[in-house]
Each structure stands twice: as structure tokens, then as C-alpha cells.
């Protein structure tokens, strides 16, 4: 078969076979036991040309409702932010995207320096001493953080806020299943009469009564899954009381306006950096980040880039602290992470460089303004009701008059991707709806959204008021 990706011609093949000293291609595979060698072709569809592939993919895309064309009010951990055009142009440089992991530093200064810059930016945003070169996603970053904590202090119990992203908690449960580390969930305040502004935040009573000398770490997310900003400092004080570590899960965009978890006492900060210049990609690739205070640096999972000098004394960068890594320590490594998300980290670095501290602040501020505008508008229509009262960042919970799943289906016909239905992950919030509003949504889109919600709710099936 002739392929535009395989340069070897039939004639060259003959010559090469004879150099190797075999008569046919088949002879190259004699080491494979006869009975294992396939007699027939694999059962795969007939090959498509480039043009046919494009048409095929267009047909598939037609079966999707994408956020380019529809207004997206869905968040729950993955966000539809504006991505400056320049980001794609940078990550499309072949020198970046077709390179392997920078094992040969002399011809990899590009990616090494960019990672060093990424590490610095993440450390700056989180207020930590160091960050690694990225992890798969926020969920696995949290898993690695818990492992680190438990190994560090030898304790086997982890307290995690129930307001931490359920997807993260699931990955954590799977990962820790046979590890001997126990997980306990801390509830959030949901007394409906509670009007001290703490509704939706972590329940300190519960925390107090569960924390003890076996607690390896407390995991808290802020803004939490409901969009509500937690009092990290107060949680960290609790952790310190028993010498447990505080692991904070933070949205990096929010850190444009909110105090860095480092300054508030977190020991490890992890999270999802997809909102920094990476598209939603139907959930992957994402970009886990991982930042620590000094004592934990040599225990960090995965790749790290460090500064050094070349033989002429010029600054340069290399992969470093590899004595913790799987390819050197094998079963004694701090983690098994090898390939991870360098290109996504480059996208985030480019994004942050373009936004600058002012731009990031502006994005965060617009999120706050637009989310609150949407919230207030929705409440005004009387078609949704208030659930929590604590102030939120870019996302909030309401309970619409009709069930979220039905509402979402109706909204799709209006070119709107509706919010997240909390029912299955939080039975205690049955019928509640988590709505995200980024800076990308214009007032016009928001007003349209609110109107459509109102109209659908007036016509629709009543949401169980229970």
C-alpha cells in the first residue's frame, strides 16, 4: 500500500531487504510464532483520503452542539473562557508541538524555559514556593497531593470537603481504594434558614469533630464546586492544630482577585488550569497543576525544570530532581507520571503572558459581575429559587421551577448549553442547578438565557419542590 506518510518506495524496499539479508518483509517477523501471525487484515474501515476524512468529521460535528455556536452556561470544573488567538499560534509551532519530552536540554531550551515560566506563574498565583511541570488534570493532581501528604506524615486519613468537585473525589476514591488511606467527607452548610452568609461553605462543626492526629490532610476547594469562596485560612488553622497538611484546590482564574492559598496557609495547592487558555476539548486534554511549599519540593510528582548554567556560564534549563522519578527510582519513585501535559502548560503560560496581571484581574472581575448579574436576573423572574447565600465567584446554585435535565433539553433547542444538574451527585440538592457565567457571555446572551429560562419554566413541568 502506498501511503503519503511512508516514504519507502517498492524499489527502495527491495534494496533494503537485501541489505538486511532477508527475502521478504514477512521474513522480518519470523521471531513471532507462526500461530500468532495474523492471516487476515484487521477489521477496520477502508481508508479515507484527507478530503473524505474532513467531510466525515464535518458530519460528526453536525451531531454536536458546540460552545462556539451555542451559549455555554455549563461549568462544574471546566470553563468556557475567552482564549486569545495568539495562544493557538504559539502552540502550533512545530518546534513545540512535535517535540518529545526535553531529554536533550541543549536542543530543548524552548520547552524547558517555557515550563520554567509556567512553574513560576503557578507558584506566583498560588503563593507557593514551587510548582511542577504539570499533571494530567485537576483530579489526578489532587490524588497525587493526597499521596504526598500521607507519605509525608505517615498518616492514613484524609478529610475532604463534600463541596470539592465530585469528579475529583471519584478519581481520589478509585486511586486510594487499595492504598490503606481512608477518606472522610466533610459536609457543607445547608441549613436553609442559615442566613449568616455561610450557607454553601464547609461545615466547621463537622470538620472539628472529625479532625484528629490521624488526619494526614484536609482537602478544601475554593471557589468550591458551588462557586462559593471558602475561608481557607480558618481551615488551615484547623489543620495546623493537628499538624495535618492543608491541600487547597483552586481555580487559577479566581486567583486574579482572591488571596493566594499559600498566603492563607495551604501546604499544597492543586487544581485545573484548563481555564488558562485551553479549550474545553470535551474534557481532555486538561491541565493539572501542582504547587507546594518548600518542604515538599523533592516529593513532588512528575517532571520539574530547574535553572542551571552551561559550560560557558550562560543560563539554561534542564529537567531536574530526577532522583524522584520513575525512570531512575523505578518502584521507589514518588509517582509514575511520565508523559503529561507540556503543550497545555505552554498554552497556559502564553495565555497568562498575554493577559498579564491586569488582564487576569479583569477576567476574574467580569466573571464575578456577570455571574451575579445572571443570578440576580434569574431570581427576579421568580422562576428559580435561592439555595445558598454565601458570595460566589463565577458559578452559583439555584433551583429552577422545572427539573434541570428537562430545562437543559429545552434550552438546547434555543442554542443554549444549560447548567449542571446537581441531582445525581448531591441528592440533598435534588433539582438544583449549577450555572456558570464567564467573561465570554455578553449581557445580550445572559438576558436571552434568563428570558428563555423564564419562558420554559412557565410552560414546563414543575420541579419537585421537596
Amino acid at each position: 500500500m502506498k501511503s503519503s506518510y511512508i516514504p519507502m518506495t517498492t524499489q527502495q524496499q527491495e534494496a533494503m531487504l537485501s541489505t538486511v539479508g532477508v527475502k521478504s518483509l514477512d521474513e522480518l517477523f519470523l521471531a513471532i510464532p507462526e500461530e500468532l501471525r495474523l492471516k487476515d487484515d484487521l477489521n477496520l474501515p477502508t481508508p479515507l483520503s484527507e478530503h473524505e476524512l474532513k467531510k466525515h468529521m464535518n458530519t460528526l460535528a453536525q451531531q454536536n452542539f458546540d460552545a462556539g455556536w451555542n451559549s455555554c452556561f455549563l461549568g462544574a470544573g471546566i470553563y468556557d473562557h475567552i482564549i486569545p488567538s495568539a495562544v493557538k499560534h504559539i502552540i502550533s509551532r512545530q518546534e513545540f508541538y512535535t517535540a518529545y519530552t526535553p531529554y536533550q536540554p541543549e536542543i530543548s531550551q524552548g520547552v524547558l524555559q517555557s515550563i520554567f515560566e509556567f512553574q513560576t506563574m503557578i507558584a506566583e498565583l498560588t503563593g507557593m514556593d514551587a510548582a511542577n511541570a504539570s499533571l494530567y488534570d485537576g483530579a489526578t493532581a489532587l490524588y497525587e497531593a493526597v499521596l504526598l501528604a500521607s507519605r509525608y506524615n505517615g498518616r492514613k486519613e484524609v478529610l475532604i470537603a463534600r463541596s470539592v468537585n465530585p469528579e475529583y473525589r471519584k478519581v481520589l476514591y478509585s486511586g486510594l481504594r487499595y492504598s490503606g488511606i481512608a477518606i472522610k467527607e466533610i459536609d457543607f452548610n445547608k441549613d436553609e434558614n442559615n442566613s449568616n452568609g455561610e450557607n454553601g461553605t464547609i461545615n466547621f462543626e463537622f470538620l472539628k469533630s472529625n479532625i484528629n492526629k490521624n488526619t494526614a490532610a484536609i482537602v478544601v476547594q475554593s471557589p468550591n464546586f458551588f462557586g462559593i469562596v471558602e475561608d481557607i485560612k480558618a481551615v488551615s488553622q484547623k489543620a495546623q492544630e493537628v499538624d495535618a497538611l492543608l491541600i487547597a484546590v483552586c481555580d487559577p482564574i479566581s486567583l486574579g482577585v482572591f488571596e493566594s492559598p499559600g498566603a492563607l496557609g495551604a501546604d499544597i495547592v492543586v487544581g485545573e488550569a484548563q481555564p488558562l487558555g485551553n479549550p474545553m476539548n470535551y474534557g481532555g486534554p486538561l491541565l493539572g497543576y501542582f504547587a507546594v511549599k518548600s518542604p515538599f519540593i523533592r516529593r513532588m510528582p512528575g517532571r520539574i525544570v530547574g535553572e542551571t548554567t552551561d559550560s560557558e556560564g550562560r543560563r539554561g534549563f534542564v529537567l531536574t530532581l530526577q532522583a524522584r522519578e520513575q525512570h531512575i527510582r523505578r518502584e521507589k519513585a514518588t509517582s509514575n507520571v511520565c508523559t503529561n501535559q507540556a503543550l497545555c502548560a505552554l498554552a497556559a503560560t502564553t495565555y497568562l503572558s498575554l493577559m498579564g496581571k491586569e488582564g487576569l484581574k479583569e477576567v476574574a472581575s467580569q466573571c464575578i459581575s456577570k455571574a451575579h448579574y445572571t443570578y440576580n436576573s434569574l431570581l427576579k423572574t421568580l422562576n428559580v429559587s435561592r439555595i445558598f447565600d454565601a458570595p460566589f465567584f463565577r458559578e452559583f446554585v439555584v433551583k429552577p421551577k422545572i427539573k434541570p435535565d428537562i430545562l437543559n433539553e429545552e434550552l438546547l433547542t434555543e442554542n443554549i448549553i444549560g447548567g449542571y444538574d446537581l441531582t445525581s451527585e448531591y441528592p440533598e440538592l435534588e433539582g438544583c442547578w449549577l450555572v456558570a457565567v464567564t467573561e465570554k457571555r455578553s449581557k445580550k446572551e445572559i438576558d436571552n438565557f434568563v428570558n428563555k429560562v423564564a419562558r420554559i419554566c412557565q410552560g414546563g413541568i414543575i420541579n419537585d419542590e421537596g
Binding site: 506518510y5 533494503m16 517477523f29 521471531a31 483520503s49 460528526l60 460535528a61 454536536n64 452542539f65 458546540d66 504559539i90 512545530q94 518546534e95 512535535t98 518529545y100 531529554y103 536533550q104 536542543i107 530543548s108 520547552v111 524555559q113 517555557s114 506566583e124 498565583l125 514551587a130 488534570d137 485537576g138 483530579a139 489526578t140 478519581v171 478509585s174 481504594r177 482572591f258 470535551y282 474534557g283 481532555g284 486538561l286 530547574g306 542551571t308 534549563f317 531536574t320 530532581l321 532522583a323 525512570h327 519513585a333 509517582s335 509514575n336 511520565c338 508523559t339 501535559q341 503543550l343 505552554l346 493577559m355 498579564g356 496581571k357 488582564g359 487576569l360 448579574y373 458570595p391 448549553i417
Partner: protein, 484 residues
């Protein structure tokens, strides 16, 4: 060219902007009114302030200090640095496919779900497995997932004494690391003098505490484990499972299948075998396939087809749960999907055949000047040893650095650990005979110089943006971030 080593932070100028955002068109909410003061940021983070041109120039110029597959030959063993077809990049950035939220109603994501569904089918066929999960984000995560399944399987059978995972000494570091992380005890097994699993040693290890064996086949020496059927029989008979590290799958696509060899679980590195670009270290994708018996343990969700609709199936009580959020690195899966659809069965087989021929061709042309510990027909890669050259001070490392000056990315060096001065050469099928010849000629020239004039090879590279870097210093006094 202008030498500019400044970091992006060192180019920042207060008040400069590189963004263009819509004006806020809703009433401004002042964070200070909403949030307690202590919650708000006091000191600005040191995120640099630049204009678009500054940023573009900075990263464009950084890119010039990097080497990609489009720059030239990249025979990095075990990494399958094949050419990444451009059409796949176009497909991956189609708005209607990439701008999708993972939590959308599946009815509104039928196109993407169909891709996932089909990929499960295609990769199952290629691996000879029953079912594939696309969730793992890389090979190592595939391993971890596979080991969790092995654990879950034995636990489900109440066979909890199985705590050992056997790993050959030639294996990749992620194998033992994954096994350890999954809570297993790691047992190393030596290679025999043919470079393959030592059957005798295996026999000695196998008992009812063995949960499974991890194997790369062809192994990291580029050799097909000829006794694979016997090995799998032995492991199965003692109640263990076989895990296939698919990093070397590029040798045998359409030629042989791990499932047929007796493996129970197998990962694929889509960023290697299926030609998705490696991104300077990711994102990748490491789907795993399993035999029928293990399907119940796969992570949730799987994509199923029900009455002409694709749905996400979470109702899998024996599932190990989730190893990563959502459905894996969809953007990478998409590229691999495009690759499979344009290659077809014949194309994949041709690719493997050409990859194997290319490796053997180089091997033949270097065998007189370099030591090749297992000098017989190899698969898609082979390992040579620079022992002879090292005697004159020209170690594998020195050879690698000399290749840099020739505009070639060096092979993998010092791996596998069982070969002294190892250089693991994997040309892949996308390299032309002319490129192979150019590489061979350079390697021969180096060998001759190593003999005649070793001094001339010292202190390479000389033409790169930076010269040899002090890795020891970096590790001793780690500087991991810029500070003002």
C-alpha cells in the same frame, strides 16, 4: 542572531497589555463589597505585562531553541517519534468538535460520543481485546489503570494474597513505579542471554502470591519475546494476569495482537504508535484494552449504543471507578482516530513493516563499527552499545551530544539499564532511506573519529543555543522558579 536569554518576567513592563477583552456590559460588582477583606488578594501575582508582539516574539524565539519531528530525524528509542500528519491537527481544532463541554447532555454530543465508541472498537480490534477504555491520559496512567483492574479482579475473586507484580529488568521505569503505586510488591525478573524473559527464573518466581506479569513485547531491546505463549500459559496457570506495555506496538500493528498472545490487559500510547504529536511532553493518551473477563472492571463511563443513540454507561458495579476526569484526552484520541481512518488496516500493517525494515537496515549498516549485544533480526528498534567507543572516552552521552551538532535528535541513551552504554535506536516508518543513510554515515563517522581522534568529539554540542548544561548543579541547588 540576537541572543536573548531573558525570561518572560524580565521583559515585563508595568502598564503594558497584551489582551483584548470585551468591555464589561453588566453592572460592575465590586469584590470588596461581596467578600471579606482577607479573602481578597493583597499583593498582585508576578504575571508579566507585555503586548501581543512581545509575547509572540518571546515564544516564537523560544520555539527556535527547540527541536521537533518536522525539524529532522528523531530516532528516540521506545518513543516512536513518527511524523504527525497535518490533517490530524486540523481535525483536532475543528470548533464543532473541540469546543465541547464534557458534561453536556449526551444527546447534544452524539458526534463526539460516536468517535469514542468507534475508537473503542478499532483499538479492541488492533489489540485483539474485548473492550477498551480511553480514559487514561498516558501510557503510565494506562499501566496504573491496568494494575488497578488486576487488583480488583483478584479481590473480586477473594484472592487477596496476590500481592506481587513481576517486571523484567529491561522494563521501562513506569512499570515498577505503577505497580508500586497500585499497592503491589515489585519482583524483578532477569533477561536471559538472548535478551528475553528468563523462563527458568520466571518459573522460580511464579506462585500463588503473583498477581501478574508486565511485559513489553517487542521488549525494550527491540526483540520479540519468542516464548510469549509459554510465558502467558505459565502465568495464567499460576493464577496471574498478563499486562502488555504497548509502547512498542508500532512493530506489530496488523501483524500480531497482544490479545492473541495471551495478554489480559494492554495499553497503547496513542502519542507514539498512533502518530499524535508529543507536545514537548504531552498531552498523550494511554487507552487500555482488556479481555472479556475483565470488562466489568473497566473505569466508568463506557460509551454504549442504545437505540441508535450513544450513551454514557456509568452503571457498572464492578468498575474500578474513575482514573481521570471525564473520557480521557479526547483531543488526542481524535487525532489517533483520524490516523486510523486514513491508514486503514493495510496502512497500519505497512507502517509496522516499514518501521521494522528501517530498524534492521540501520542495524546492519552499523554492526561492524558498534557493539550490538543482540545482533539478530530486530523489530522496530534495536539497542547498540557504545562500549567500544567508551573505552576512548566517547560514551553514549558524548555520541548523543555530537549528534546534536549534526542536526539529529539522539537515540535514547542508557536505557534499557541492562545494556552498558546503551543507545536505543528507533527510526519509525516515516523516515526515508535517505535520512537513514545520512544518519548511518554520521554514526559511522563518529565511530571512526572515536577511534582515531576522540578529542575532536569532546565538548559537543558546539552549535546549539546553549552548550553542555550542568545538571548536577541544577539538582543540588534547585532553582525551580524565577524570583524578582
Amino acid at each position: 542572531m540576537m541572543r536573548d536569554e531573558r525570561l518572560i518576567f524580565e521583559k515585563s513592563v508595568e502598564g503594558r497589555i497584551g489582551y483584548s477583552l470585551p468591555e464589561n456590559d453588566v453592572p460592575v460588582v465590586n469584590p470588596e463589597e461581596l467578600f471579606a477583606g482577607q479573602m481578597l488578594r493583597k499583593a498582585d501575582p508576578e504575571i508579566p505585562e507585555l503586548s501581543e508582539v512581545d509575547v509572540i516574539r518571546h515564544y516564537t524565539n523560544l520555539s527556535k531553541r527547540n527541536y521537533g519531528v518536522d525539524s529532522g530525524f528523531y530516532p528516540l528509542g521506545s518513543c516512536t517519534m513518527k511524523y504527525n500528519p497535518k490533517i490530524n491537527e486540523d481535525i483536532a481544532s475543528m470548533e464543532g468538535i473541540a469546543q465541547m463541554h464534557p458534561l453536556q447532555n449526551p444527546l447534544s454530543a452524539q458526534g463526539n460520543l460516536e468517535i469514542l465508541y468507534r475508537m473503542d472498537k478499532y483499538l479492541s480490534e488492533i489489540l485483539g481485546m474485548e473492550r477498551v477504555t480511553l480514559q487514561p491520559a498516558a501510557g503510565a496512567q494506562g499501566e496504573m489503570t491496568g494494575l488497578m483492574i488486576i487488583k480488583a479482579y483478584h479481590m473480586y475473586r477473594l484472592d487477596s494474597k496476590r500481592i506481587k507484580i513481576i517486571v523484567p529488568d529491561s522494563s521501562h521505569g513506569t512499570n515498577p513505579a505503577s505497580a508500586a503505586l497500585a499497592g503491589f510488591e515489585v519482583v524483578h525478573i532477569p533477561s536471559d542471554d538472548k535478551g528475553c524473559v528468563d523462563i527458568k527464573a520466571l518459573e522460580d518466581i511464579l506462585d500463588d502470591t503473583v498477581a501478574g506479569l508486565m511485559l513489553t513485547n517487542p521488549n525494550t531491546l527491540g526483540l520479540f519475546e519468542e516464548d510469549i505463549l509459554q510465558i502467558s500459559k505459565m502465568v495464567h496457570e499460576c493464577g496471574g494476569l498478563l499486562y502488555y506495555d504497548g509502547a512498542n506496538m508500532n512493530a506489530i500493528m496488523g501483524i500480531a495482537r497482544p490479545g492473541d498472545m495471551g495478554f489480559d490487559i494492554a495499553h497503547l500510547n496513542l502519542h507514539k504508535t498512533f502518530s499524535t504529536p508529543h507536545g514537548g511532553g504531552g498531552p498523550g493518551s494511554g487507552p487500555i484494552g482488556v479481555v472479556k473477563e475483565l470488562v466489568p472492571f473497566l473505569p466508568v463511563p463506557l460509551v454504549e449504543k442504545e437505540n441508535d443513540y450513544y450513551v454514557l454507561d456509568y452503571e457498572r458495579p464492578l468498575s474500578i471507578g474513575k482514573v481521570k476526569s471525564f473520557y480521557g484526552n479526547f483531543g488526542i484520541i481524535l487525532r489517533a482516530y483520524s490516523y486510523i481512518r486514513t491508514m486503514g488496516a493495510q496502512g497500519l500493517k505497512t507502517a509496522s513493516q516499514a518501521a521494522v525494515l528501517n530498524a534492521n537496515y540501520i542495524r546492519k549498516k552499523l554492526e561492524d563499527l558498534y557493539e550490538i549485544p543482540q545482533n539478530r533480526i530486530c523489530m522496530h528498534e534495536f539497542v547498540l552499545s557504545a562500549q567500544r567507543q567508551a573505552k576512548n572516552g566517547i560514551t553514549a552521552l558524548e555520541i548523543a551530544k555530537n549528534l546534536l551538532d549534526e542536526g539529529i535528535h539522539p537515540p535514547t541513551i542508557y536505557f534499557p539499564l541492562i545494556v552498558h552504554e546503551a543507545m536505543m535506536i528507533e527510526p519509525t516508518e516515516t523516515e526515508s532511506p535517505e535520512t537513514l543513510d545520512a544518519f548511518i554515515e554520521i554514526m559511522r563517522r563518529i565511530a571512526i573519529k572515536a577511534q582515531d581522534d576522540p578529542e575532536s568529539l569532546k565538548n559537543a554540542p558546539k552549535t546549539t543555543y546553549v552548550s553542555r548544561l550542568d545538571e548536577v548543579k541544577a539538582a543540588r541547588t534547585p532553582v525551580l522558579r524565577w524570583k524578582k
